[in-house]
């Protein structure tokens, strides 16, 4: 089974979705920020929304063809979809929900599918319950089971696990993987958290502003992002624009000057000539912070800065620092470290950044090398 979808859909005067994507058997992640158009793409594929132009096929079956005026209604597409809000039917029991899509089957077949699916997703004990009396993880399992029991030819998942804690998330992901090993259908999985990309994806498609930005295996696309936007989405809180000053082939590094006045950063050498405009991505958690000039570190980049502001976000302290040359950086530290160092707004700090924590992206390759 292979999904091929070309979709053009004008959402507003300034926002048009224009994508061309393929997904073969296995899990493909649609990755992008909220509002990038991922959910609209899923809705077009499911038939809940009609594109303005394009063509959507599943192997030989044409689901939509703007030119030939083919537009199969959602109930005839054999596409399974799990919604972000799950959309369990509140007036039906778990069994009623799961059997909802099986009304055309004989009773015996219905029962055996119900039994098999509920065993697979470990919800046998919940059959008589209404959705209101289920926990978050149980609801997610029921929503998945209700969709998978119909044996769709394509599965669309719209951020179905985002609300769950990591443990439950990864167990459900395991169930989903096991299920798909037997079926081998294309699964399109929408998310905006990169943790899910690594946990799930065999293939990732990065969507931004209604376009496909990059396609590839998660490791290649997210770990070595060639496009600044991909880097940003992949959790690089600091994206610093600069240019290559000089290359040190023997030392394996090159110097990049951020902005016009620095700081100058030592980054891993890349195949870029001096003078190239680049963006350096550094994760906020990869920056060490010190309250005096540090010594004896392997980190090549020691930058003097001052703490502009700080705030607590979940378990982490987010520190806003400004280098002596005026560059702003975001640094994540634990509240304990923050307190132990006696950090306070206006105080002097030193930042240490390993060369290998600096990812580099060329500014002129707008479409990236992984397209």
């Amino acid at each position: 089974m292979t999904l091929a979808a070309t979709i053009v859909k004008r959402i507003s005067a300034s926002f048009t979705i224009d994508v061309d994507l393929r997904a073969s058997a296995g899990i493909t992640i649609l990755f992008g920020a909220s509002g990038s158009g991922k959910s609209t793409i899923l809705r077009c594929i499911a038939g809940l929304m009609t594109p303005d132009e394009g063509r959507i096929t599943l192997d030989d079956a044409v689901l939509y063809d703007g030119g030939a005026r083919v537009n199969a209604p959602p109930q005839h597409r054999r596409v399974g979809m799990v919604f972000q809000q799950l959309a369990l039917f509140p007036h039906l029991t778990v069994a009623g929900n799961i059997c909802y899509g099986l009304s055309d089957l004989p009773q015996a077949e219905r029962n055996s599918r119900l039994a098999e699916t509920t065993r697979m997703f470990r919800i046998e004990g919940l059959l008589d319950r209404k959705p209101a009396r289920l926990s978050g993880g149980e609801r997610q399992r029921v929503a998945l089971a209700r969709t998978l029991v119909t044996e769709p030819s394509l599965l669309l998942l719209d951020e179905p696990l985002t609300a769950l804690d990591f443990d439950i998330q990864s167990r459900i992901i395991d169930d989903l993987r096991r299920w798909n090993e037997q079926r081998r259908i294309p699964v399109l999985y929408v998310t905006h958290t990169h943790r899910e990309v690594y946990a799930l994806g065999e293939q990732v498609i990065v969507i931004d502003n209604g376009r496909v930005l990059a396609t590839g295996v998660p490791h290649a696309v997210l770990e070595h992002p060639t496009h600044p936007l991909v880097a940003n989405l992949a959790g690089f809180e600091n994206l610093l624009e600069g240019h290559v000053l000089e290359r040190d082939e023997i030392g394996g590094t090159m110097q990049v000057r951020i902005g016009s006045s620095g700081p100058d950063l030592e980054v891993p050498i890349a195949d870029l000539p001096s003078g190239s405009a680049v963006t350096v991505g550094i994760r906020a958690g990869d920056i060490l912070i010190a309250n005096e000039p540090p010594h004896g570190l392997s980190a090549l980049n020691i930058i003097e800065a001052s703490l502009a502001a700080s705030r607590r976000e979940g378990p982490a302290m987010v520190a806003d620092v400004r280098t002596t040359t005026g560059t702003r950086l975001v640094v994540h530290v634990t509240p304990r470290a923050f307190e132990r160092l006696g950090l306070h707004a206006g105080g002097r700090v030193w930042l240490a950044v390993k060369s290998y924590s600096c990812r580099i992206a060329r500014n002129d390759t707008i479409r990236g090398g992984f397209r």
């Binding site: 499911a46 038939g47 809940l48 209604p73 959602p74 109930q75 005839h76 597409r77 596409v79 399974g80 979809m81 919604f83 809000q85 959309a87 369990l88 039917f89 509140p90 007036h91 909802y100 899509g101 009304s103 055309d104 209700r146 969709t147 119909t150």
Partner: protein, 224 residues
Amino acid sequence: MDWQAFGLSVRLAATVSAILLVLAVPLAYWLSVTRFRGRFLVESVVSLPLVLPPTVLGFYVLLALGARSPIGRLWMEWRGHGLAFTFEGLVIASLLYSMPFAVQPLAAAFAQLDPSLRDASAVLGASPWRTFLRITMPLSIEGFLAALVLTFAHTIGEFGVVLMVGGNLPGITRTVSIAIYDDVQALRYDEARATAFALLLLSFLLLAAVYGIRRRPWAASPLA
């Protein structure tokens, strides 16, 4: 107490409620899902009887049903008599008069339904009709109940429209509210008292039934 008038009112209310439910469901559903820009105009027309004096509505209905109107003439050819001052004429007038009491609770119930439930039903293979029967209707049951009871109670109690369109023919158009008015005019206060009390009791019981079943406060309000 005028049992004949009472029976006539119940028959009228039951007929109107039944017909109106059939008419109001598609209209209310359309109002709740349409993106048509002129929706507010349709809503205004449907809701007119809420604010219009019954005599004004009755006057226009009388003109529309009269022997010189197209509807009146068609009816005349079909049934051999006019529509004005007949039970059928009353039914038509009451349909218009009670329309908002059926449409508004239904539209409100449909609109508060999570649209992703309909989407989920469709991708699970259900046709729009099946989605309506298995998802939309059961989850809007309070709206149906409210529409039914309010239409019934409102039709039973109508006065001005009946007077304009139906007149006061015993057994044909003399409804219970007309009977009360008549009794008072003729100084038959004991008769009027009994009939009025019966109407009060019936209305109270109907509303108590709706609010007794409702889960949200004022779920049955016509202005919900």
